[in-house]
Amino acid sequence: MDVFSHLNWYSGNVSEDGEPEKSIPSGKLILVSDTLESDGSFLIHYFLQSIFKSTSNSNSSGGNSSNRGGACLLGLNQSLFNYFNVGRKLGYNLTTENGKGNFTFINGLSTPYQWIKEQRVQQLEEQGIDEEPPLDSISQGFSPFPVIQLTSDKLNNNNSSSNSNSSELVDILKKIYQEFIDDHMKRMAKDPKSKTLFIIDSLNILSSYYSKNKSGSYMDIINFLQYFHTFVQDNSKTCSLVILFHSDCDEDTKFYNMLKYEADLTISISGLKSGYSKDIDGQIGFIEKDENNLTFKKINPIHYQALDNTIRFFHLGSRIQ
């Protein structure tokens, strides 16, 4: 079994080998919440795998283009190298997918803050060096294809940085939104039926780490999410949004509850109640919002185990071998 059959995620088409085709539903805001004991990032790799596998299948079969898809990933938590390496083990190559226009990466991990650049420039000025020396091959990091940087390269913001720190967050959110929309547009221009999956890994860094405004409100983030959710709903045939969120990072669960309320589907990953086990990594619970009458429905939880190059899912108590 897997998540797709458990949630009945089928596109309605039948693939070549007679199996019904699996696909992530579009027009949804999917929240993946995890805890320290059980990391939820495996689901992101799992989703990427399902997209690229079905895409390559439909490519080889030629005519059936209804299942073409791509992904746009905002990586705040892990480096591209990590996604690339895991992808190789799962059977897809991010470089080739990028070459085909199916994958876009926004790098939110290396030099994620404007102050780092400002400080560096300031320091170099003190040493009397005008031009920043080019970075060596190691410091540049792993970049087999061009990625989008979260911070802008130009240092024009002597004025804007003095404004307030919350404006930096707004700038970044706007940038993320813009990049996502652009990516979607590009893919739509190629093939109006193609699907795009937006992935944010993880929201915590955006929600608490950037927002230094003393009022402590999450308003900027909430606005961003609502705006984005509306966009996804407007394009309900062609895109979905997946958000990874660590649910145990705030004493005040207001923001988490709000996220759950906003999301169409909440996938909550938690460790086993009985503690650590080598055979089962944790439990996945689902809460789905019914579109018609806006009620929430619980779906039976399942267990999972992430192995080196595959993920296994089990009904509760069915893990035998």
Partner: protein, 424 residues
């Protein structure tokens, strides 16, 4: 990738024993051989489970627990113990190993300790032969340690098995001793100090803070980050221009996020996020010790999410209770709180359990798996107790016997929390 679940120790031995190329089967062998041919940096090896570049913590027991060592490019966080400072031993092991491997070492104490106070008191290296020799003496003088002549109290039929195992172990130790030209992890003797002259001053970097040196207005974490960034870039550059002579840089920050240094909590998060990004493309690895007991659990989780591996160490005496009778020879508990997922889908390593016990031998620290002694009389468990401390110790033990709680690594710190009157 045939068997990811095998215990790491068997893997380690195989590699030490066999030359490159005769390694594990499957996909991993190709990576192993190609990179070994390239010659690894000092004190590094390739993880057999996932191909990450590892460097040692300086303590063999800890390396074994953490799946072979610390991956280069990751952050290891140690939660400091309350009312004692056993974490300092781990920190010193880490620094000493860096110096012996001729790696770059950066140390800064954020609670105002003079860095040279620590660096001058690092433990001295002890060779395997010496260690075996001294271990023998210890065994002779100390009857309680394990000994092939010890008779099993129950299951005596396995006596043969035990002595076989013991002799195998000794044999391996000797074999390793002869092999250890390219040691991955040295042994240290805390009764002697490391010779200061053996350090290479160009590769030792320290940073000390006084309250006056901090610039008003700017976050001290940003300044610290700038210093570290410069250092990391320097080592990266050397490694990029002389790949055959790569030196790994070890960063160690003591009492990171201590409010005595700065109470800028957002700064902590920001710093760690930026540091993670910096380290991921570098030849550096970082160890931070954090006094987590100061903060609420939510903030600690926030920090932990940004680090790669999180472990905690706590002594029984520091926690305030008496040492449980069954653990009389141990000093405290060692927990794994988070296991890294570095370039892997699954966990980077799969430990059998998350809770260990540690003790200090005369020269070194030992972290061991929990073994409970066989129950001698049945009355022990059911006898009602009046003293609360006794109840507490039985509480831990009974929990462990029932298989819940501690052994399974519930993250809530175990013994400290178990004084509810309803708990048996």
């Amino acid at each position: 990738m045939t068997t990811p679940l095998r215990p790491p120790t068997t893997f380690v031995r195989k590699v030490a024993g066999k030359p490159a190329g005769a390694g594990a089967p499957g996909a991993s062998s190709t990576t192993t051989t190609t990179t070994q041919a390239k010659k690894l940096p000092n004190g590094c090896k390739i993880s057999i489970q996932n191909g990450n570049l590892l460097t040692s913590t300086g303590l063999q027991d800890l390396d074994d627990i953490l799946g072979g060592g610390i991956p280069v490019g990751s952050i290891l966080m140690i939660e400091e113990d309350i009312n004692s400072s056993y974490y300092m031993f781990l920190l010193k092991y880490f620094l000493a190993e860096g110096i012996l491997q001729k790696q770059g070492v950066f140390f800064s104490s954020l609670i105002g300790l003079d860095p040279f106070e620590v660096l001058n008191k690092l433990p001295a290296r002890i060779t395997k032969e010496e260690e075996i020799e001294q271990d023998k003496q210890d065994v002779d003088s100390n009857a309680t340690t394990k000994n092939p002549q010890d008779e099993l109290k129950i299951a005596w039929r396995y006596q043969q098995y035990v002595s076989n195992e013991m002799s195998k172990q000794q044999h391996q130790q000797q074999q390793q001793a002869s092999l250890q030209q390219n040691t991955f992890c040295h042994s240290y003797d805390f009764t002697r100090k490391m010779n200061v002259q053996s350090m290479i001053p160009e590769q030792i970097h320290t940073l000390s803070y006084s309250s006056t040196s901090q610039v008003e207005g700017s976050s001290p974490y940003r300044n610290l980050f700038l210093e570290i960034q410069n250092l990391v870039y320097k080592y990266n550059q050397e490694a990029a221009s002389h790949p055959e002579n790569t030196k790994v840089l070890r960063l160690a920050l003591q009492s990171f996020s201590s409010p005595l240094w700065s109470n800028d909590e957002e700064g902590v998060i920001e710093f760690l996020h930026a540091l993670k990004g910096l380290l991921r493309s570098s030849v550096s690895t970082c160890l931070i010790t954090v006094p987590t007991y100061i903060y609420n659990s939510a903030f600690v989780k926030k920090i932990s999410h940004l680090c790669d591996t999180v472990v905690s160490i706590n002594s029984f005496s520091g926690l305030g209770g008496d040492t449980p009778e069954q653990f009389a020879e141990y000093l405290g508990l060692f927990n794994i709180k988070k296991i890294a997922r570095l370039n892997t889908l699954s966990l980077s390593f799969h430990p059998d359990m998350l809770t260990y016990v540690f003790k200090m031998k005369r020269r070194k620290m030992c972290i061991e798996t929990i073994h409970l002694p066989p129950e001698m009389s049945r009355s022990g468990d059911s006898k009602p107790d009046s003293s609360s401390s006794n109840k507490k110790s039985e509480d831990i033990v009974s929990k462990m016997k029932s298989g819940s709680g501690l052994l399974c690594g519930a993250s809530s710190g175990g013994p400290a929390k178990s004084n509810s009157s309803l708990d048996f």
